[in-house]
């Protein structure tokens, strides 16, 4: 299926905070209570619509375990958006956010949009991190913030889509150089600047099939 833009995302955060479950809920609309430990990286993809444009999200779900840190770090490069996830029922996952953020800022491009996510909002009775604390952390570090539940799907769509909206706005403002793939953004085949005519407009040349991938 053709798309106007492709955005590359990365999901990061401590092990067991629900990164893979968020991805599964977003791509497959289902919840898997016992999810296998992620090793290295796993992929997901989904099409969304923003401003009536088709946008493809290509999502890299990373392992939270320390043992894979050096491998997962290599995936920050070339991501347009990051979901930084902690678990509202485990204070230590919140305490580690600064380490994750430093890592992300150090290894990614400076324009990367980072969404802070407090996951497992369905487990209110076991909450250890107040919503205000998450919001304050996000304000302090210039992040977008949301609490989600991969189990009930609350705010999951919004988390992924709002991140995409931020990226889209940055593109409109000209902050992102969309011709540099290292920014984690690809222009869809029919929107290529070398071929600005609308799809099916039957322009001259006629080399429509020159997809970049």
């Amino acid at each position: 299926m053709s798309y106007a833009y492709l955005f590359k995302y990365i999901i990061i955060g401590d092990t067991g905070v629900g990164k893979s479950c968020l991805l599964l809920q977003f791509t497959d609309k289902r919840f898997q209570p016992v999810h296998d430990l992620t090793i290295g990286v796993e992929f997901g993809a989904r099409m969304i619509t923003i401003d009536s444009k088709q946008i493809k999200l290509q999502i890299w779900d990373t392992a939270g375990q320390e043992a894979f840190r050096s491998i997962t770090r290599s995936y920050y490069r070339g991501a347009a958006g990051a979901l930084l996830v902690y678990d509202i029922t485990r204070r230590e996952t919140f305490n580690h956010l600064t380490t994750w953020l430093d890592d992300a800022r150090q290894h990614s491009n400076s324009n990367m949009v980072i969404m802070l996510i407090g996951n497992k909002s369905d487990l209110e009775s076991r909450r250890e991190v107040k919503q205000e604390e998450g919001a304050a952390f996000a304000r302090e570090h210039g992040l977008v913030f949301m609490e989600t539940s991969a189990k009930t799907a609350a705010n999951v769509e919004e988390a992924f889509i709002n991140t995409a909206k931020e990226i889209y706005e940055k593109i409109q403002e000209g902050v992102f150089d969309i011709n540099n793939e290292a920014n984690g953004i690809k222009i869809g085949p029919q929107h290529s600047p070398t071929n600005p005519s609308l799809p099916g407009a039957g322009g001259s040349g006629g080399s429509q099939g020159s997809s970049c991938c």
Binding site: D36, L37, I39, G40, V41, E42, F43, A45, Q58, W60, A67, F68, S70, I71, R73, S74, Y75, R77, G78, A182, G209, C213
Partner: protein, 464 residues
């Protein structure tokens, strides 16, 4: 097995253009034929089209592993090259099969047997993706056929009937050897039917009846690791290691060398200015050196040049066994190279009876072994097995690939600061113990009612 430059050179003269053409949808003259199999990653990774695209990111080189566990939690991981070819030209496969038969006895009862086996293969393609794909899709079918041909004798050898039969090892080694040959012939026959396939190496592990058989044709490598110790289960077939075979073949069939190459070796590199002088030489069968007067034909290029990873046959190919390459010619001289290549595997046998839960078979393409030696591999595997509670073997495979790939600064670097592997990297980490357990269960099932419980296997003579 090629360095980047070399693969570019070979690609230019040989099917690489056509192979890329198949993928990019571009047609070159002569390549209107379709590929035999569509490009993809190994079946057990279950990657969709999107994920195949994502896996081929040369800047990120994501390490891919199976999303669903393989049998006995076998580990696998892979990553794409750093840009030497558009796609990952390695392929991998595993299959489980059963040799079974039901024979009616004279008294009306039915005698049945069922021998399970597990097969793993890795194939490192060059000059295109076709040959490795064909091997990954077809070799296990051929091996199965060969094993079926031998299954009655294999069963007799297993089931204490005291009937005369060939040693089981030789039956299984023979099945593997003949299957490798047939695979190569199949690629030859396919030449006029499908798009140019290039060539590939082949490394196969077969677990059957309490033993591991490793068949290797090429420069992929298998080792058994136990704690931080290792033992090789294959040798690399490179021009340097196969110097004797190739030079002797060249000496016996000088027409293969055209007027360009020589099977002789000389001390120093004689130049035209040395004509008429005395030089030291040896021919392909000589161990020592002798003297001769330098003639014009002594100035020809040696059929094998270079050392180690850079050794080449006719200045062209850096691996001497495998499948395909039927149309490969020397870079400048256009002489056919296939006569010097062999599809014949070396098969090593390992008895599993002493296996424990720390013992694994590591199979890797040269992308791994270019930067990781046996000690380092055993070290990484042992650490992973001890560090991870769960998914030990897939973690070990991921760590091996992660180490060999390194990280990208200006170029891909190992964590010690040396250059990392820029080749495609594919690794299996296979625990051995489950196959011993499976064998013991089979023994129990088959011989439960018999008085003597000793394994019939003890008196099977090993090959060699």
């Amino acid at each position: 097995m090629f360095n980047r430059l070399k693969s570019a050179v070979i690609g230019a003269v040989n099917g690489l253009e056509s192979a890329n053409g198949a993928i990019e949808g571009t047609h070159y003259n002569k390549t209107t034929l379709a590929p035999k199999f569509p490009y993809g990653r190994p079946h057990f990774l279950s990657l969709g089209d999107d994920e195949v695209q994502m896996s081929a990111d040369h800047k990120l080189r994501p390490i891919i592993h199976p999303s669903k566990p393989l049998p006995h939690d076998t580990g696998y991981a892979e990553c794409v090259n750093a840009g030497k070819s558009r796609w990952n030209e390695d392929q991998a496969v595993y299959r489980q099969g059963i040799l079974s038969k039901a024979t009616p006895n004279e008294d009306g009862s039915v005698q049945k047997f069922a021998i399970p086996y597990t097969y793993y293969g890795i194939f490192d393609g060059h000059a295109g993706v076709g040959a490795a794909l064909c091997a990954a899709f077809q070799l296990h079918h051929i091996i199965h056929e060969k094993l079926v041909d031998a299954q009655d004798d294999i069963w007799v050898s297993f089931s204490k009937k005291n009937l005369p039969c060939k040693p089981r090892d030789l039956l299984i080694i023979g099945a593997l050897e003949s299957a490798f040959k047939e695979m190569d012939q199949l690629l030859s026959e396919d030449r006029n039917k499908y798009q140019a396939a290039g060539g590939c190496t082949a490394l196969v592990a077969l677990f059957i009846l309490g033993k591991l058989y490793v068949a290797n044709a090429g420069d992929s490598r298998a080792i058994i690791c136990k704690n931080d110790k290792y033992s090789p289960m294959s040798m690399d077939f490179t021009p340097e290691n196969e110097r004797d075979r190739i030079r002797r073949l060249a000496q016996e069939q000088p027409s293969l060398l055209g007027n360009e190459f020589t099977a002789k070796e000389y001390i120093g590199s004689p130049k035209s200015g040395d004509l008429g002088k005395t030089v030291m030489f040896r021919d392909a069968y000589m161990k020592g050196w002798a003297y001769k007067t330098l003639q014009p034909e002594d100035l020809r290029v040696s059929v094998i040049t270079g050392r180690g990873k850079r050794s080449r046959v006719m200045g062209t190919i850096g691996v001497t066994r495998g499948f395909g390459d039927h149309d490969l010619t020397a870079v400048y001289q256009k002489l056919p190279i296939k006569p010097f290549l062999s599809s014949h595997p070396e098969v090593q046998v390992h008895l599993l009876s002493a296996a424990d839960d720390k013992e694994v078979l590591v199979m890797g393409t040269d992308g791994l072994w270019d930067v990781v030696d046996g000690h380092k591999a055993a070290d990484i595997v042992a650490k992973s097995i001890n560090a991870f509670e769960d998914k030990k073997f897939v973690s070990a495979a991921t760590c091996l690939v992660g180490y060999a790939r390194g990280s990208l600064n200006n170029s891909w670097m190992l964590k010690e600061g040396k250059p990392a592997s820029c080749d495609d990297i594919s690794v299996f980490v296979i625990p051995l113990l489950p196959y011993q357990v499976e064998y013991e269960e089979l023994l129990k099932k088959c011989f439960l009612n018999e008085t003597s419980e000793t394994s019939s296997d003890e008196n099977i003579e090993t090959a060699k």
